[in-house]
């Protein structure tokens, strides 16, 4: 958090306290991954869904579960498998012999914080079932609309597509995720800390130690606060230029959508909130851009074969655009 040299237009006291508490709680269990935790908190504040990608065993699910536990809201978990059907996620109409009528039985998607574990193990048919609910926060079944409760956050984990038994998620679905967080292997020092920490806590259930920090109402209120943050027009222009450039870049087969532009702005606002500011700086935009764009853009086949990553291209694009100052 940055020093309060100027009087804030917005009272960020509660937000800052909550952010610090979440970070401290998660820090006792999760070693490292500070950027990932910041992005997860930013995702919640920006009213976005988060996709966490990493090889097995890097605490993707644990991180998501901890964040979910830090919020006092209805939590449900769905384990995506190759034989999962859309009705297993959304729900289905069941005939009730007593009333001689069909009754809608809600699926696990009806909740506030939904943890979809290993999302890319289900085929495209099941993935498609999430399109409406992720974007419009509603489910339409048998001609009836079922609205989701606020807040509605999807935290999904996935293995890289190179892993066995995984499917590539449809572009339309990827675009619905605010961030794609890539969790890498820990450093040697971090690995030693993980082993030591686990050894010391071997008899305790670490998840049980986490107590809710934010309520549903808190999240709704904080989101409204963050939405009203100030963004200098030149910074909005900067964001638009970055996204526009992704559509004209020869290394990219698919560029960012207008939804991506909005996502960058919202994410930058949330990051500013985490840093204790009520306005966005170019640093915020540059910091969130890779996480917002890496899953929305598609490299051309030749660039993929060269081993270029989406992050490399995003970096190149940003380097060519003047930072507003």
């Amino acid at each position: 958090m940055e020093e309060g040299i100027f009087e804030q237009r917005t009272d960020l006291g509660k937000l800052n306290a909550a952010v610090n508490q979440i970070k401290a709680t998660l820090g006792t269990i999760i070693v490292g991954q500070q950027d990932s935790i910041d992005l997860l908190i930013a995702g919640i504040l920006a009213d976005g869904h988060v996709l966490i990608e990493g090889v097995p065993g890097v605490a993707k699910t644990l991180t998501a579960k901890l964040i979910a536990k830090a919020i006092d809201a209805q939590y449900s978990r769905i384990q995506f498998t190759p034989d999962l059907m859309p009705s297993d996620v959304l729900g289905t109409s069941v005939f009730n012999p007593k009333t001689i009528d069909f009754e809608f039985k809600q699926g696990p998607i009806f909740g506030n914080i939904i943890l979809i574990d290993e999302i890319n193990r289900a085929p495209a048919k099941t993935q498609s079932a999430l399109f409406e609910v992720m974007e419009e926060r509603q489910v339409t079944i048998d001609g009836h609309n079922y609205k989701m409760q606020e807040p509605f956050i999807v935290l999904a984990t996935q293995n890289p597509v190179e892993q066995e038994g995984t499917y590539r998620l449809p572009e339309a679905q990827l675009d619905r995720f605010l961030f794609k967080i890539e969790i890498k292997y820990p450093s040697l020092e971090e690995e030693i800390r993980i082993v030591t920490q686990q050894h010391q806590h071997k008899t305790n259930d670490q998840l049980a130690e986490v107590k809710p920090i934010l309520s549903k109402e808190d999240i709704i209120s904080l989101r409204n606060q963050v939405r009203g943050f100030h963004v200098e027009p030149k910074i909005l222009e900067f964001v638009a230029k970055v996204i526009h450039e992704t559509r004209n870049n020869k290394s990219l087969y698919l560029g960012g959508s207008p939804r991506a532009s909005l996502a960058v702005v919202n994410a930058a606002k949330a990051l500013a909130a985490i840093k204790g500011r009520d306005f966005v700086t170019p640093d915020d935009v540059v910091w969130v851009a890779p996480a917002v764009l890496r899953h929305r853009i598609m490299l051309t086949p030749d660039k993929e074969m060269e081993g270029v990553s989406p992050d490399d291209i995003i970096k190149q694009i940003i380097q060519k655009i003047e930072v507003p100052r």
């Binding site: 200098e232 170019p282 660039k303 003047e322 100052r325």
Partner: protein, 253 residues
């Protein structure tokens, strides 16, 4: 016991040999009988020529292979390969080759190489592939067709501009100019490397001196609140900010 078995088999074998010899001898003495066909004379029949001619005219019975005319394209390739062969063939010419014969031959080969090279270049160019990049060790990155007017801090008359902004009461703009001036000072002192794509955070991290870094971080924060945060400041607040920038610039110089 085995002995008796061998003996019986031996006797039976001799007996069989004698039997076969006796049969062959009897066959030698049988008379050959020639059978003659004594039926009526053979009536030789012939095909009807008119019917045969009718059949021959039908396309179903035309077994001659159709030979297509050689197209111009095929003729061109035949000529091309023949010409290429003549260029590189080592057949001895009639008599000793003259200097001009050798020169002309080398010239034709060079011309051909140039033509092939140009063709490859244009194909790559049309595909948008940087042909020079193929021979480099690592790809230099995607070319970005983006250009715009960049503000160069080295060409701005800061003192004049700041005075002008203060005179107009535009303190927000004056703070921006103070910050840009500070960046120029740091660049001139070789403490940071000014680039259009660098954010303020990058410049802070480029400062190695801890004290300078902390001081510059505070100045950056002031600039960000006033410029990006659009925080309104009066003359008094501006004076405070101005003096902190001046102090820092003195430190750097």
């Amino acid at each position: 016991m085995r002995f008796y078995l061998y003996l019986i088999l031996f006797i039976l074998g001799i007996n069989a040999g004698f039997g076969a010899e006796k049969k062959a001898h009897a066959a030698k003495h049988e008379k050959a009988v020639l059978k003659v066909d004594s039926a009526s004379a053979v009536d030789v029949r012939h095909f009807d020529q008119s019917v045969l001619n009718t059949y021959r005219k039908k396309p179903e019975f035309q077994y001659k292979e159709a030979t297509a005319d050689i197209s111009g394209w095929t003729r061109f390739w035949r000529w091309f390969w023949h010409w290429l062969d003549s260029l590189f063939s080592s057949k001895p010419a009639k008599g000793l080759p003259t200097f001009w014969d050798i020169f002309w031959r080398i010239f034709k080969i060079l011309l051909l190489a140039l033509g092939v090279g140009a063709l490859i270049f244009f194909i790559f160019k049309a595909q948008g592939i940087n042909i020079l990049g193929i021979f480099r060790k690592k790809a230099t990155g995607a070319p970005i067709p983006y250009s715009e007017f960049f503000e160069d801090i080295n060409t701005i008359n800061f003192d004049g501009e700041i005075e002008g902004a203060i005179a107009k009461g535009n303190y927000r703009f004056a703070v921006r100019l103070l910050y840009l001036k500070c960046l120029k000072h740091l660049t001139d002192a070789g403490l940071i490397d000014w680039q259009i794509d660098k954010t303020n955070g990058v410049y802070i991290s480029e400062l190695k001196n801890q004290q300078q870094q902390e001081a510059f971080r505070m100045l950056t924060l002031q600039f960000e609140y006033v410029w990006y945060g659009e925080l309104l400041i009066d003359q008094q607040a501006f004076k405070t900010i101005d003096s902190s920038f001046k102090d820092f610039n003195k430190q750097v110089a």
